[in-house]
């Protein structure tokens, strides 16, 4: 496992633990946590807070027949077999969305050699896979909201740092950046945004209307 240098914020881990993040962000959190023991244990801590909050929220009596109803539920619900894909570069939560691993992604071109697959879009937040050939830049863009980018293959660099496999960049609207995939192997990342990316030049803005980036 590569050494991970860029982690999730407390805010995101707490939101995930509380179950209040949009699905798009939850997928990035679950995927990063699958790769990162540090964030898995930090998440465990926020879940422990949730457990304590739940235990002190105040009990409300269950209905009289609730225990029998639960035992009937146990007896009558067949075990749902969980679909498992062969081990690849994508952790299990991401494989579930893709329906497989790297070779099963249904890529669509978005221009400049960059390809994407949109995985989920809910409550204004969208999560997609991006495939950026080595040495290629994703057009200079700022954000109107929060953007999470998790690297799954290769690496990218921007004005702030280098991001390798397992690293997650948390960018807010203050960060105007130009991520460039490192030379060599294409960079594959999982990116979630809660607002459309806003490109800083005229042409990509037009393209944006067609490619939903």
């Amino acid at each position: 496992m590569a050494e991970i240098k860029h982690h999730l914020t407390d805010q995101l881990l707490m939101g995930y633990a509380a179950g209040t993040l949009p699905e798009a962000f939850s997928l990035v959190v679950a995927t990063h946590v699958s790769l990162c023991d540090e964030c898995r244990s930090r998440l465990g801590e926020f879940e422990a807070v949730g457990g304590e909050v739940m235990m002190s929220a105040g009990a409300v009596s269950m209905s009289n027949d609730s225990f029998a109803a639960t035992m009937a539920l146990i007896a009558n619900t067949p075990e749902a077999p969980q679909k498992r894909y062969a081990k690849g570069i994508f952790p299990a939560p991401l494989q579930d969305y893709v329906g497989g691993d790297k070779d099963d992604v249904r890529w669509r071109p978005v221009g400049g050699g960059v390809r994407q697959m949109i995985l989920a879009s809910d409550g204004g937040a969208t999560v997609r896979l991006l495939h950026i050939p080595g040495g290629v830049a994703v057009p200079d863009h700022g954000h109107r909201g929060l953007e999470l980018t998790l690297v799954l293959q290769g690496a990218f660099k921007d004005e702030s740092d280098r991001f390798g496999v397992g690293d997650v960049e948390v960018a807010n609207e203050d960060l105007n950046h130009t991520p460039i995939a490192e030379e060599g192997e294409a960079c594959i990342c999982l990116a979630a945004t809660d607002a459309p990316l806003k490109f800083n030049s005229f042409l990509p803005r037009i393209a944006q209307r067609f490619v939903r980036i």
């Binding site: 707490m14 179950g19 995927t31 023991d37 244990s41 465990g44 009990a59 639960t70 952790p91 939560p93």
Partner: protein, 183 residues
Amino acid sequence: MTEQKTPARAEWLDEIYAVRDTQDQAAFARLFAHFAPRVKGFLMRSGASADVAEECAQEVMATIWRKAALFDPARASVATWIFTIARNRQIDMIRRARRPEPEDLPWGPDAEPDQEEVLVLQEETNKLGEAIAALPEKQRELIQKAYFGDLSHSEIAEQTGLPLGTIKSRIRLALDRLRHTMR
């Protein structure tokens, strides 16, 4: 041995093991009596109607029965584990959204958790509960609201002053140990 406090029993573990190993309905009934009303109360505080919260709490308890073998006491207390199940069922049943979950860590053949680690994790979880109870009311409310879903995640950014860090290192230890036994 020198005189010291009686070590805290890791609460509800015997019941979980009894459900896991012998499908013990009496042990499950004790878990049910303690946790089901609290799960229901939590779901109602989070905005569910009494009927929906009742149904969801039954589903949560059924999941505990089915997944007892997956519970890892070196990484979470029973209350923490039940909270995560309740939260997932809530997203699934009440918000009707999909809930991506981190990949499970596979258990090694001899990965029975160390009793000492289990007890320390339990103790630290208890301390966390006490620390939450001892917070100034405003801060405690902020944390509760975050978990009841009454705060946006930007509001959660507020500092809460919780003694976070100890449970984290405990879980980290358990993960390291797990990875080690897997090697």
